[in-house]
């Protein structure tokens, strides 16, 4: 176990949504390279409490990369420098002694800052509430093997379902667009046989809910590069295709000419 010394942290502090924020500089004199990035912040917070100061507020929960709660821009990159890694999985061995590390919250109009590094991501919930589900009331579901699901199809659904809804895609996007998130949620259900009945209704409703809150996609691909679950840009293509088709398939009077 080695130690990193003399890290200079520039941390965003902001008391509330409508207050002006600022960077605060803290020196971390020594931290184990085995510590995770959030454990480094824990230690800094312990020190701040020791100095009778307010601890830095940040979101975190599972600390193993599966819940999607942690969310930090580290040196301008969502979840930091390591590919396919959430902030909580990032370890200090990725950094070197003497590094300056800039820590900011997710930057997006649709994710207002709550305090310090904590943001409100309920705009994502509203996209899912608009159609990110299969209507299947409890009880009376048919035998799961009644509808065979080809392995490549279930694998493709799983690839999209791996999305943890952390919001890194939005934070990384220069437009603050949520196309990768929405695309992943749509693709998960729209490729499965069980999701076909509501396929086009779902695509239309979710894209509309997304457009109301987020910026527009201009195919930069920053989202996929920042995604800790490496969700492919393909999901955006599928979403766009289903959304376009929905415009004819969802017309209420289609059968009546």
């Amino acid at each position: 176990m080695k130690h990193l010394t003399n890290l200079k942290l520039k941390v965003w502090r902001q008391d509330g949504p409508d207050v002006v924020g600022k960077f605060e500089t803290h020196i971390v004199e020594s931290v184990s390279d085995e510590a995770s990035f959030l454990e480094m912040l824990d230690q800094l917070n312990e020190r701040l409490i020791g100095e009778n100061k307010d601890a830095i507020v940040f979101d975190h929960d599972c600390r193993e990369g599966i819940c999607g709660t942690c969310s930090l821009m580290i040196n301008g990159r969502a979840h930091g420098p390591q590919r396919a890694t959430t902030t909580c999985q990032l370890h200090m061995r990725t950094f070197s002694s003497g590094d300056e590390i800039v820590i900011e919250p997710w930057r997006a109009a649709a994710f207002p800052i709550i305090k310090d590094l904590m943001v409100d991501r309920s705009s994502f919930d509203r996209i899912v509430e608009s159609g990110g589900f299969i209507t299947a009331l409890t009880g009376g579901a048919p035998d799961a093997n009644l509808i065979p699901v080809p392995k490549p199809v279930s694998d493709a659904a799983m690839d999209s379902a791996a999305c943890i809804g952390c919001g890194a895609c939005v934070a990384a996007c220069p437009n603050g667009a949520a196309n990768l998130f929405t695309g992943a949620k749509i693709a998960h259900l729209n490729v499965l046989p069980q999701g076909q009945a509501e396929r086009f209704k779902r695509a239309e409703a979710m894209v509309n809910a997304m457009d109301e809150q987020f910026g527009s996609c201009t195919n930069h691909g920053e989202c996929s590069a920042a995604c800790p679950k490496e969700i492919s840009l393909d999901v955006i293509a599928l979403m766009n295709s289903d959304f376009r088709k929905s415009k004819s398939k969802n017309r209420k009077q289609l059968s009546r000419g």
């Binding site: 510590a35 995770s36 824990d42 307010d54 600390r63 589900f133 799961a144 392995k151 998960h188």
Partner: protein
Amino acid sequence: MHRLAQVSVDIIDQMVAQGVPFAREYGGMLDNRSFGGAQVSRTFYARGQTGQQLLLGAYQQLSRQIGLGGVRLFNRTELVDVVVVDGRCSGIVVRDLLTGEITSHAAHAVVMATGGYGNVFYLSTNAMNCNVTAAWRAHRRGAMFANPCYTQIHPTCIPQSDESQSKLTLMSESLRNDGRIWVPKNADDTRPADQIPEGERDYYLERLYPSYGNLAPRDISSRAAKRLVDKGHGVGPLKNGVNLDFSAAIDRLGRDVVQERYGNLFQMYERIAGEDPYSTPMRIYPATHYTMGGLWVDYELATTIPGLYAAGEANFSDHGANRLGASALMQGLADGYFVLPYTIGNELAPMLNKNIPTTDHPAFVQAETEARERFNAYLNVSGTRSPDWFHRELGKIIWDYCGMERTQQGLEKALSELPALYSEFKKDLRVTGTGESVNQTLEKAGRVDDFFQLGMLMCRDALDREESCGAHFRSEYQTGDGEALRDDKNFCHVSAYNWTGDPMAAELNKEKLEFETAHLATRSYK
């Protein structure tokens, strides 16, 4: 258990209909695999993240209800008390974590699905925000708390790497399907794993439990690992783990198959430990994972407070003294989807058109005042130690004396140290900031307070249960070859505790266990 077995058949059908992408065979049928404590492949799975996918499935259904206006969700809100009026649960008091505001909700019935209390150990595989507060506050208002000492230690977690560690990461138990667990036979062997010849490795689970081998149940695998590490056979820089080796599986199945089965877990391990499990064996060590104890409930999942229900890990039912792989997901889904919707109606039906106490009832007002005073008190101690510091010290005591192996002497020591530390907590706590905006230090203080009280009850229960049973292993009660020795004559009962105002003096009620169809026996995993 009978009902759980019955309704569990519907769970997979329901979840598949909702779009959970369970793994499929090439013919399109659902795929199965084996799990700890099972000799047949009977567990449905979604890569190495079945639990996460089931959670997302349930979240989507909840979101649908929110979108339809049937459910209102209060994000970032924490329960701080339960209100009982005339012996009935009449609602809850909550704290808004963003504004610190304390408010109440009145209700005909309350369901707690608030999870387990594994974080009493400080280091566990539970998420950081898991806590016992909701269940504990219900206990303090009259709900019995059952079998608190039954805590499961999961064998496959990444070992602690340093003092500052904040949590332990679970590596899915499915890894034991293909991974072989071993330690060097020579305790002083410091060679890298791949340079230790086959003959100098001790595949101890395969040696001790030939029929189950690496899939021996969690408690047995955990204790076996602890004994070898305690004897100095541990591997890794701190000699605090055992090897979980995939080289045989990679030789047999090919790297591609192993990657398809466990790719995301291998990646997770690589991120945290900084080693590549395709070429170096994983290092694993047991960690607290699940708590079988919890609020006492009857067959309808009702607690001892009428109108208050507990579901999933928050209750004590179904798992007894130990739990086998995948059954927590099964219980959580069964309780929520197939049990409560039917049982809670029996409680609600007679209350149709009846008025219930509103939130201006004196009981609500008093509970709110008490909650406000409690949180102000944490802010006003102005001592020197943070809530995290106390939590870590509490966790050390519980892990050392009420962890994988317990002794009378150790538990008595814990029961003398805990009240001392708790009174220090009350005198020397320091919470900075205010109670009027997000204050994670203050949230933590409230949770640690409740963990202290629970910790005392856990140790008391463990001391009282003079037998080894499932995950509760008392060193004094073991067979000649180190297996758990039950005492069915004196301890074939559920221990359910009543709050008396002092967790050290909780009142014990014994619910006798009766076995009508399946009779008591000792299962052998050898």
